[in-house]
Each structure stands twice: as C-alpha cells, then as structure tokens.
C-alpha cells in the first residue's frame, strides 16, 4: 500500500471512530470532505474553540487532537445532561476530554489487530497542550449538524500501524 492509500485508510478509521463516538452525545458528525481545512497557522481560533490532546504510548508514539467550537461542546452537554442552564466550564472540559478519550479508544481498537494491546495517556486540555512537531499529521474535518470539528492524528506510527 502506498502512502496515499495508507492515509485514506487511516482517514476512514478516524471518520468511523468520530461518527460512532459522537452518537453517544446524540450528535450526527459527518465527514464533509475538506469543507473547512484545519491549519494551525490560521486564525480560525476566533470561533472560540476548545482543544484536547491525548498521547499514544504503545504500540507506537503518536498524538491525537480534538478541536471543537465551544458551541458544539455546549450542545453535547445539554443533550447528555438535559440541562436548561449554561453548563459550567468544568463540565465542558470534562466533556471534550471524555470525547477524545472515547475517540482514541475506538480509533486504536479499529485500526490495530484485535489481539494488539495499546496504551495512551490522559487527555490534556488547552491549545498549549499541543506538541509542536514536524511529524506526519492527518487532519479530518467533520460537520456536526452545521458546526465544524476537527480530529488530527500526529505521528508516523499511525501510517505504520493502520
């Protein structure tokens, strides 16, 4: 399989993992095909986004990032907790961290052989948690009922193990 085919395969795993994970929060997230590219250089942060990152330790070193507009995390909190008042910052932080945790688990479980064990760290929050790296990365954008979100897989190991 060449590099482009490996990237496409990884992308499919990411799309499935995100779509299934977002169903937990009663949100339909569909990959719409680069309708809004993720780029760390662009000031898209104006949209008031929340950031989470999780490190993968085994069987390869990598990093998975989740970027969601606050509005989407609020919607997810309202759906899950049936809240009428604005959810607290703590709830929003917990929610995006748990979302990434679930996505990471589903992604690794689907891309690795069933017998393969994997290990990842605890989700960290905030833009500052993102590692600066020149390593391979695959960013996948989603439309969650009109709101964009991104998942970024960083590290050559993703291509090696997919």
């Amino acid at each position: 399989m060449n590099n482009a085919e490996l990237r496409e395969k990884l992308k499919t795993h990411i799309i499935n993992a995100v779509s299934e994970s977002m169903e937990m929060f009663f949100v339909d997230a569909e990959h719409m095909g680069e309708y809004l590219d993720y780029s760390e250089g662009i000031d898209w942060i104006n949209m008031d986004a929340l950031y989470a990152e999780i490190l993968i330790f085994f069987p390869f070193s990598g990093e998975l990032r989740l970027i969601m507009p606050r509005q989407l995390v609020v919607t997810m909190a309202e759906n899950v907790y049936s809240m009428e008042e604005e959810p607290s910052e703590q709830i929003l932080d917990d929610l995006i961290a748990e979302t990434l945790n679930v996505i990471a688990g589903r992604l690794l479980a689907s891309m690795l052989p069933p017998s393969e064990r994997f290990k990842f760290g605890l989700p960290e929050l905030g833009e500052d948690s993102f590692l600066e790296t020149d390593a391979f990365s695959e960013a996948v954008d989603f439309d969650a009922e009109g709101i964009p979100l991104w998942v970024v897989a960083c590290g050559e190991g993703f291509l090696e193990y997919v």
Binding site: F26, V27, D28, E30, M32, N79, V80, S82
Partner: protein
C-alpha cells in the same frame, strides 16, 4: 381485529384488546413505539424529521412529524389512556435509502433525535431495529407489545 393505520407524522394509541397499530414502509422515518404492560396499552408515532424548531407551525398542526413534539404528544396520549408510566420503548426505521453517500443522513439524524428526546425523559429503547438501507412496515400489538416488521425482500421478523 382492529387496525389503526398511521401515516407520516401521525400518532395513535389504544388499549383495546386485539388491536394492531401499523405504519407502512418506513424509510428514514422512525417509528417510536410505547407499550404499557400494566394496562396493555400500545402507542406509536411516525417521526419524519428530527426537530420541530425548523417549522413551529407544522409542529402545532402535526406534532407527530417531529421527534421532540411527537414523543411528548404520544406520551400524553398514553397518559390519557391511563398509562401507569411504566412503558417499554421500541424503535424501528431510520434507514438511509435515498443517499448512498451518507450525506444529509436524515435516518441517522432522526434516530439520534429520538434517542436524545427519550434520554431527556429518562427513557431508553428496550429493543430496536434501526439503520441499514431497507424500508420497514411496522405493526405493534396491544395484546403483548410485540412488534412485527416486514419488508418485501426480507420477509417478516419480530422485535
């Protein structure tokens, strides 16, 4: 045998023994079915779209059309029949038939909207037959709450 036929956005309920509540050829629509085993009452709503906020006038005229207004209307109807509040929930439909590329997947959105409404009401499905790409005709029995599904190619099965 009594038969109550529901069309798009209709809802209905009965506790008359031997009654079947039926809706034909569910595609992306979702049938939400409630059954109260205490009073042997059954109810069904044929949900067409996820959220009533897109058309409040339509929601008033035909509340069953939307997941949020449809489920609350059906619960109210079950209450009128004397429901004990201890209801089973069964779900069917939510197929992706028109668009094989899964863009604007109304079936999935209907399913998620229905589950979200049920979750907010502290209800969850006892059993479900959702998704895929087949249309389903659904018949709910008041006698025992069993649901018979059918499709021209797949035949009949029960949930």
């Amino acid at each position: 045998m009594n038969e109550i036929i529901l069309g798009l956005g209709d809802y209905g309920a009965s506790k008359t023994p031997g009654t079947i509540i039926k809706t034909y050829a569910l595609g992306s629509c979702v049938a939400v079915m409630l059954y109260d085993p205490v009073i042997q009452a059954a109810g069904m709503v044929h949900v067409v779209l996820p959220d009533s906020s897109i058309d409040s006038k339509k929601a008033q005229q035909k509340p069953g059309y939307f997941a949020d207004t449809g489920i609350s209307s059906l619960l109210a109807l079950m209450e009128q029949l004397g429901s004990s509040g201890q209801v089973w929930v069964k779900l069917a439909g939510g197929a992706q038939i028109a668009d094989p590329n899964f863009r604007f997947n109304v079936g999935k959105r209907n399913t998620l909207a229905v589950k979200k409404c049920l979750w907010a009401l502290r209800l969850g499905a006892l059993t479900e037959d959702l998704g895929g790409d087949l249309s389903r005709t659904v018949a709910l029995r008041t006698d025992d709450g069993m649901v018979v599904l059918s499709n021209p190619k797949k035949g009949e099965w029960m949930i």
